[in-house]
Symmetry: C2
């Protein structure tokens, strides 16, 4: 069965977004799926927790006194709200860097209400407001601690990015030379790999079951990352954002992480599963109801968030509600 | 074969937009198609030429001295540039109305560069800047000429909208009670019907072959509409817009009209065809390369427009080119 997020205007489906998803346990067993669980696409910001692991395992976090809030922000696609900026500035300072060292470009807040409020205050988004500024600050901290140049840290050949690729390869069980590489919205390397392998990494992250000889250090890092996100869910995203709402609603038993262009991943700690999904056309608005529909099927009744996340409405230029999103998603099981 | 517009980052397809299309001659013969030519979706702004026909056939254009530029603007999804606003104001004045009578909501220009320039001048978009302000002014002119109230002209039960529905039913060969109705972005009625029937209407429009006992009057109206669009292609869309570029490049032998949410229609006058396509997920950025790929297969070498319309690029927040759109569209023939 094809799983879709339908956009309905009046009584007619106007547009349709196809969804592929894979739910995997920490042993790599495909527990449930829809569409093509082997679909290869970019992990985008869903890679952030794994890009952050080396900050901890390689010693920078300890040596520089990185706080839990700073660890959480390293994993965030945040709104660029005051507290996000404050935490990013703190991490930059510990790295001996300033906003000028950030390689990410400025952009309006991911959250339209936050973007509007900033514009009304006459405030222009800067690099520190980038949803990725925590990740970038963490990469600068890694470079500083390892004695690598901070210059060019975002580029594929820089040791920071080579280190991130190795970490992603380990958690996903995809050899580094089989991971596609592209340039992300913020300028760092983005990784292309199958949904099933993305889900495996999230399962391992959530179940304290990391790969390789460095498993003990990775397990400690994973625990710290999950605890940091759980302790202050605002940091991972912000006001009116689904990632924040899911973590808050479940006390961290489910941790959801959005990526750009229709990718969403999650840890379901009680079910022992990692989940990865892609709206095949890249529509981010459809990714939220898709995530919630998949979570509901994997862990019924666990995630209780506000109705607009489940069924976003379409408004016209007069502010009238003229349509809505409707999830028609059915996970298959037992392959 | 599935036709898609692929979004490629690095060397990997990241997202994929499916396309359905129908090319039909004025007798209703399906000449070429891809995906589902019977797909039902909303016509959105592609309905504008047919919403404008009654302005001419029912006498308002003659009685009020409506100019060719005003006829063209009635069919436009324009950028809200100075000349568009000027023409809309002229038509409103002839209707004895002002901007306050427009029922459409304000929104930023469809063309990002125009929207940015307005914002930099500190100019807020008003109703007159709505891409639909010409259509709304034309509806007010119809109401005024027919002695209908201008109040509520945008609502389904108002005679202006009932008249538009009847006109759409005639051109598309879909009975009025089988046409789905929703509320469009600008607040008027939008019509849901199969792609094949949308294409039929465009073929009839372009080939001087309208339906029904009113065919002679409709044929004259169609000629005036096509001539008005051809005489000043800027009016139908504006700076850096594909509709304008296609009409200008072909001297009106091909007339393309965009609709919101991934719909595009066109008249190919030399091939004697109407074309309608829908990007199934509603992605407007994919609709442009999809239109150009379909036109190239139906009329090779005829439409010569700038490369970025064919292969739009994806830029990141640093302004770097990190991906591109690539059309993989193959029309089938001879059913």
């Amino acid at each position: 069965m094809t799983s879709t997020i339908d956009v309905i205007r009046g009584a007619t489906v106007e547009s349709r977004h196809r969804v592929s998803a894979a739910a995997v346990d920490a042993a790599g067993r495909l527990a449930a799926w829809t569409g093509d669980p082997e679909l290869v696409t970019y992990w985008r910001s869903c890679a952030k927790p794994f890009q952050a692991v080396p900050l901890i395992t390689d010693g920078a976090a300890h040596a520089l006194g990185v706080s839990d809030a700073e660890v959480a922000l390293a994993c965030a696609s945040h709104n660029g709200e005051a507290r996000h900026v404050e935490v990013a500035e703190g991490l930059l300072a510990k790295a001996g860097c300033t906003e000028a060292d950030l390689a990410c470009g400025a952009h309006s807040s991911l959250q339209p209400s936050v973007a509007r409020a900033m514009a009304e205050r006459g405030e222009k988004p800067r690099r520190i407001h980038s949803n990725c500024s925590g990740k970038h600050a963490a990469m600068l901290a890694q470079a500083r601690h390892r004695g690598w140049p901070t210059e060019g840290y975002r580029l594929a050949e820089h040791p920071v990015q080579r280190r991130a690729l190795a970490e992603v390869a380990a958690w996903t069980d995809v050899a580094a030379d089989r991971i596609g590489q592209g340039v992300d919205g913020c300028g760092v390397v983005s990784f292309a790999l199958p949904l099933r392998n993305m889900a495996l990494a999230y399962a391992r992250l959530g179940m304290g079951a990391p790969p390789g000889p460095e498993a003990p250090a990775r397990a400690k890092a994973a625990d710290r990352i999950l605890a940091a996100i759980t302790a202050d869910p605002f940091l991972i995203a912000g006001t009116d954002r689904l990632c924040t709402a899911v973590v808050a609603a479940t006390g961290g038993r489910v941790i959801a992480k959005i990526g750009a262009d229709g990718v969403y991943c999650a840890v379901l700690r009680d079910a022992g599963l990692g989940l990865a999904l892609k709206v095949e056309d890249g529509d981010g608005d459809s990714a939220r109801p898709a995530l919630l529909a998949a979570l509901e099927q994997l862990a019924p009744g666990v995630v209780r968030v506000a109705e607009p996340f489940h069924r976003p409405v379409i408004r016209n230029t007069l502010g009238e509600t003229v349509g809505r999103f409707e999830a028609r998603l059915a996970l298959e099981r037992g392959r």
